[in-house]
């Protein structure tokens, strides 16, 4: 995988963290909400993704809290993570622009024929 590509779950995890620090299970809820239910992460899968994002320096641990006897680990987006997310958004926007332009070309002859 090249540096400019992020898998969808990682993209949504970074997006969820862009708004501020958050803990494991809240991230699962937020990624599901942001992706309109397309991304339904299991807890171990989220932790595997977070491990990888930490390895890449895109997220960092931002402290632990104990709530109702349960440990909650908080994560935050790093500066590198923010710039990577920005680059990914840019890439997606370019893709959308290109695809839209091509679709317009496809529609153009049909419009021409209709007018004729």
């Amino acid at each position: 995988m090249t540096k400019s590509e992020l898998r969808e779950p990682s993209f949504w995890v970074l997006t969820a963290l862009a708004a501020g620090r958050n803990h494991g299970y809240a991230l699962i809820q937020e990624t599901a909400e942001l992706s309109s239910g397309r991304v339904d992460l299991k807890v171990p899968t989220l932790y595997a993704a977070l491990d990888r994002l930490r390895d890449e320096g895109l997220v960092a641990i931002d402290g632990d809290e104990v709530v109702d006897g349960r440990l909650r680990r908080y994560f935050r987006l790093t500066d590198e993570g923010a710039s990577r997310l920005g680059a990914e958004i840019e890439r997606m926007e370019t893709n959308v622009r290109q695809a839209r332009a091509r679709l317009k070309l496809r529609d153009a002859p049909a419009i021409g024929e209709a007018l004729a």
Partner: protein
């Protein structure tokens, strides 16, 4: 903590043992906390089946250093199973002959023996085509390398051609008293196929190790198979009785390494989920906070 909560915690703790100790020490409590939050939110009193499977896969990925193979999940699982089957078939064939021959059934007892090798090598062809080409648009173990893909397939097909020649051509030659010239030509062809198969395996093993699709020990499994085969061929050349026994038993080391390769590929496939799994366990968190409760 209620008895039900304690039971759920104990169950999750047991499942988390899929992860290596070092990872558990660093991340186990955080993972457990999130799993409990999830279970509570869904009103569950026990781990879901999907959760059990996800924990096992992620834990295995950590144990075997199999991070990053997610784009080849089915390829590795199916290819691994096929390699295991291809290895087990001839082993089972040999084990059967341990049992005494039933009275009056000698033709039946031995008649299926020649089919073991072609059956095994045919299965190996299926395995290596899957591993080389990738299953349903997945990446093969040689990545994008055409040389690697070709070598993997040539290795398996040359092995199949060899075993079919051995099984179908050699027995009639000896019984029909074929000409010496034809016998030598078949011998040369077998020698050429062995050489081609081995050369293809060596090239394939190097390309696969460099391709970066496999991680951990699975990455080096084919290299180990190549070394085992070359080693046994070299030992065959040493004129000592102790080494002679190895060829009588038919490459047990190479077969075991091949079996281990199949298992490693299968584990690599099973250990991956839809998201790339990563491998560092470092963290500053103290050990199991729930352990004392």
């Amino acid at each position: 903590m209620s008895a039900e909560d304690a039971k759920l915690v104990a169950e999750y703790r047991r499942l988390i043992r899929w992860y290596p100790k070092r990872w558990r020490a660093a991340n186990g409590d955080a993972l457990l906390g999130a799993l409990l939050d999830h279970a509570e939110d869904e009103g569950r009193l026990s781990p879901s089946t999907a959760e059990r499977s996800a924990i096992a896969r992620a834990g295995l990925a950590q144990r075997f250093g199999l991070a990053g193979t997610s784009s080849s999940r089915l390829t590795l699982s199916l290819g691994g199973v096929a390699v295991i089957l291809a290895t087990v078939v001839p082993l089972v064939g040999r084990l059967v002959f341990i049992f005494p021959q039933p009275i009056g059934s000698s033709w039946l007892y031995y008649s299926w023996q020649p089919f073991f090798a072609p059956l095994s090598t045919s299965t190996l062809v299926v395995a290596f085509v899957i591993l080389a080409a990738g299953f349903r648009n997945e990446r093969g173990i040689a990545g994008m390398s055409v040389l690697g893909k070709t070598s993997l397939i040539v290795f398996a097909v040359a092995g199949l051609a060899q075993s079919v020649t051995n099984a179908a051509l050699i027995p009639p030659l000896s019984t029909l008293g074929a000409s010496r010239w034809f016998g030598e030509a078949v011998g040369d062809a077998l020698w050429f196929m062995s050489l081609l198969s081995l050369a293809a395996l060596i090239v394939a093993s190097i390309v696969v190790a460099r391709a970066g699709v496999l991680r951990g020990p699975a990455r080096w499994a084919l290299v180990a198979v190549a070394i085992a085969i070359v080693g046994e061929l070299a030992i065959d050349e040493i004129p000592l009785p102790a080494f002679g026994a190895i060829s009588v038993w038919g490459s047990p080391v190479a077969l075991m390494v091949q079996l281990a390769t199949g298992l490693l590929y299968l584990l690599s496939g099973l250990a991956t989920s839809g998201e790339p799994l990563a491998g560092r366990s470092g963290s500053e968190l103290p050990l199991n906070r729930y352990a004392s409760r």
